[in-house]
């Protein structure tokens, strides 16, 4: 294969960007920042895919990941304990297990990259990647892709239903109220009622 040196330089820069922003996902202290660092990482991978002549998949990566990370950031802010997202918080937990899992996955992937024998079958120069991808998606593999899509969709809906049952301050059907500032006190953060006759009446 002959290609300009610019492709190599671009690949190295993009690969560095992907790895560094991927590392920042775990080093940052905010859920919104973590989502968008992940987005940067995916965009870098998408451009690498365009360099590899996967023009549709690379560009599709941009808009899919942009919407996905945006929605993910919103959902995390909605469901997590720290609603603002700009406040610093610890983003990682189960340190020992995750370090072990990370090292194991790295070793496996590195072994695949180094030891596997990749097929050497150059494609004809006039192949149209967009058309062949469309034929693949809506041809023989349609059943697989469609059933995977349905499974993913039901999983997403199921996860939202299961996790939204319990709100930030307790189960939904019991009426969730923020805890009091003192033990057993009135819920915190409620608007103060304007009644002249003394005695506060809060709606519980």
């Amino acid at each position: 294969m002959d290609y300009p040196i610019g492709v190599d330089i671009a690949f190295l820069l993009l690969a560095t960007l992907a790895v560094v922003s991927g590392w920042r996902v775990f080093a940052t202290d905010s859920m919104v920042r973590a989502s968008f660092f992940l987005l940067v990482s995916f965009i870098a991978v998408g451009v690498i895919m365009i360099l590899l002549a996967a023009e549709y998949l690379g560009v599709a990566m941009f808009f899919m990941m942009a919407v996905e990370m945006m929605v993910m950031a919103i959902f995390m802010v909605m469901f997590m304990m720290n609603p603002a997202g700009l406040n610093p918080m610890m983003m990682v937990h189960q340190h020992k297990f995750s370090i072990a899992a990370g090292i194991a996955i790295f070793v496996v992937l590195a072994a695949v990259a180094l030891l596997a024998e990749f097929p050497d079958s150059p494609l004809p120069a006039d192949i149209d990647p967009v058309r062949s991808l469309g034929n693949e998606l809506l041809g023989d593999s349609m059943l697989i892709f469609e059933s995977a899509g349905i499974v993913l969709l039901t999983t997403m809906i199921g996860v939202v239903v299961l996790s939204s049952h319990r709100g930030r301050y307790g189960a939904a059907e019991e009426g969730s109220m923020p805890p009091g500032l003192v033990p057993g006190g009135d819920p915190a953060g409620m608007p103060e009622e304007e009644d002249e006759g003394g005695g506060h009446h809060h709606c519980h």
Binding site: S30, E55, Y56, V59, F63, A66, V67, I74, V130
Partner: protein, 246 residues
């Protein structure tokens, strides 16, 4: 080769972006004047004067903003406008980048614009800017949905994801006639994405200019420029059929 494929397209995009953004600002000034709003003496110099004034102003700060995201967001929005413009076919031969998947690339520019506008409001760490940011996300996701239908609508008859093919497919019959809804919907999306005029809901007056409420000086200039610039590819994309029949 490097002159034809790199330098000239980049120059073309930059020139069209700057001239287009300037014309958008002039038009905006003229429309504001026609609607009876306070206006400068000359619509032609007013945008330049305001830009020069913003350049000399101090860029203000809020309490503990996300500095990098806050300063990057306007620049990224401008970059997205440039990317969007880079796939616009100006004439049958004058196309900065005739990417095979340019229709999809325009869709991704819209999706990434949502991210960048959210980031602009979120990173300021200010109440009104944050409300503007969340408001735009809710709207932006619906704009993307409408825009996808319009883009699929132009891609299907062309049997291609390439804007030059989309234009070529309109030789016989313009898309405006084939899909009368496409043009108005796309114009609405264009206005919504740049939150211009009646669809200015992210930087609106009721939020004291929303995501831009805490931005002044050069960053504000870049943000204003980027908004005007984003309107250019949105408008240019629909101008394309007019020469297709010729």
């Amino acid at each position: 080769m490097i002159l034809d494929e790199l330098i000239l397209p980049v120059l073309l995009v930059i020139v069209v972006l700057v001239v287009g953004a300037y014309l958008v600002a002039v038009l905006d000034e003229a429309i504001a004047g026609a609607l009876g709003m306070p206006r400068a003496t000359s619509v032609w110099t007013a945008p330049l004067a305001q830009g020069a004034w913003l350049l000399t102003q101090q860029a203000n700060a809020t309490e503990a903003p996300d500095w990098r995201a806050w300063r990057l967001a306007p620049a990224l929005y401008l970059a997205l406008a440039a990317i969007g413009l880079a796939v616009v076919p100006f004439s049958p031969t004058l196309i900065p980048t005739d990417l095979v998947t340019s229709v999809v690339l325009w869709g991704s520019v819209e999706a990434l614009a949502t991210v960048v506008i959210f980031l602009h409001g979120w990173s300021a760490n200010t109440l009104l800017a944050l409300i503007g940011a969340y408001r735009y996300v809710a709207l932006g996701l619906s704009y993307i949905l409408i825009s996808m239908f319009v883009l699929i609508g132009v891609a299907l008859p062309a049997e291609s994801l390439q804007f030059s093919q989309v234009v070529a497919s309109q030789e016989g019959l313009w898309n405006v006639i084939r899909q009368p809804l496409g043009l108005p919907l796309f114009l609405i999306v264009g206005l919504g994405m740049t939150f211009w005029g009646p669809l200015n809901l992210a930087d609106s007056r009721d939020l004291a200019r929303g995501t831009a409420s805490a931005v002044s000086g050069p960053p504000r200039l870049v943000w204003n420029l980027a908004r005007a610039a984003m309107l250019v590819p949105s408008a240019a994309r629909r101008r394309a059929p007019s020469w297709a029949a010729g």
